[in-house]
Amino acid sequence: MSVTSLLNRFKSASANPTPSESLALSQLAPSILNLTITDSPEQWALYESLLLSTLRTGDDTSARLILQRLSDRFGNDNARIMALQGIYDEATATNNAQLEEVLKNYGDVLKDDPTNIPVAKRRITLLHHLSKKSEAISALATLVDLNPTDAESWSQLAQYYFELSMYSQAIFSLEEVLLILPNAYNIHARLGEINYVAAEAIGNSAGKEVVEKLEASLKWYLRSVELCDGYLRGYYGIKTVTAKLLESKISASHRTIPEEKVNKLNSAATVQLHDIVTGSEKGKKGFAGYDLAEVAAAKELLETTP
């Protein structure tokens, strides 16, 4: 197999692959390592992806070899190599003391060069992993102050806030992502989800605030569907939120969107979800991209609500 086709195989897998996917990818290691090194950008990108896969599956000897080759080529003081080295150290650490050591290393590197963003991200991840959540958040806040145009950092910050149920901060961070990438439809859907969860979290489920949040959630979901045709997650959200809005305990006086429109949106979302579920289950040609777990969830939703 050529380097390009191998790389495409890695690219098509997500950063959070299922265990079986990881295993299949990491088993490619011997064949990739036996290819002659052509010093092309694709090959090094392939090496990087393979390093992560081998670390996931615990193939540390291959990982060591890949890391060695990468650092031979680009030097130990390259920011990205330092981050990869850090990932290797994190993965192979056996106890918490070793992890603390890695964390200290990161701190030292960042003291010398505060602009080393890959290592800064590693440090934040490790802090979060070690359950130092507030430290991770403050470190990430410093990072976005240094570089407020990095969408990945803002998105991660939103995730950390969400885990701590700080919904308005999470929404703020995601809005920053939208300022950088205004077409990121999955971020729109995420905003819909967070608004929905925030509405659920408010105990009194009939108040004005709840309806406002639910309607905001519905609108974000609608926008995600407007940006991306046939977005399963968006339609799932629309159906859930409209069902909630149509519940009898929500008083109509607080609503800004008339009931008939909500009804229409609900039935439209039902039709779309039905199409996607049947298409995906029959294995039709144009439905191969949908995540099977998501389709199963949509099917369950369709079965439980008429």
Partner: protein, 142 residues
């Protein structure tokens, strides 16, 4: 690329027509050159009104011009209608295609959609968590 039979035939026919038009034009130009070259008699050099060179700018007959134009336009129609899959140009269609797997990115179905990186965040990869998940999965597999 799959091409339908009618467009294939159209392309073949119009190519033939175009080739014929080119050949006719060539023949015509040859013919007019030999016909209009003045004889090299001494009398021609004495009269200054006779041009010393052949007039190459004689116009092409109308039928050749028409044949060329028609064949080129037919060829265009044939090529355009030959059934390439056109790429979507609006984000809504493209993103939807990537999401549903209709549109391939780098020849593969792209998991996570166009902006998947924003939610996977490779820079913040928690490798220990994934490692743990993997070992647990391996235990279940046996």
């Amino acid at each position: 690329m799959a091409r339908s039979l009618p467009s294939k035939l159209l392309i073949a026919f119009s190519s033939l027509l175009l080739a014929h038009a080119c050949y006719s034009a060539h023949e015509h130009s040859l013919l007019s050159t030999t016909a209009t070259t003045p004889p090299t008699t001494p009398s021609s050099s004495s009269s200054p009104s006779t041009p010393g060179t052949p007039t190459t700018g004689s116009s092409l007959p109308l039928d050749i011009t028409l044949e060329t134009l028609i064949s080129v336009s037919l060829l265009l129609v044939g090529i355009i209608s030959s059934g390439w899959e056109l790429k979507p140009i609006s984000l809504r269609n493209y993103a939807g295609g990537v999401e549903s797997g209709r549109v391939l990115v780098d020849g593969q179905v792209k998991r996570g959609g166009l902006f998947g990186g924003l939610e996977e965040r490779p820079g913040f990869l928690d490798v220990r968590k994934q490692r743990k998940e993997f070992t647990e999965w391996m235990k279940v597999q046996g």
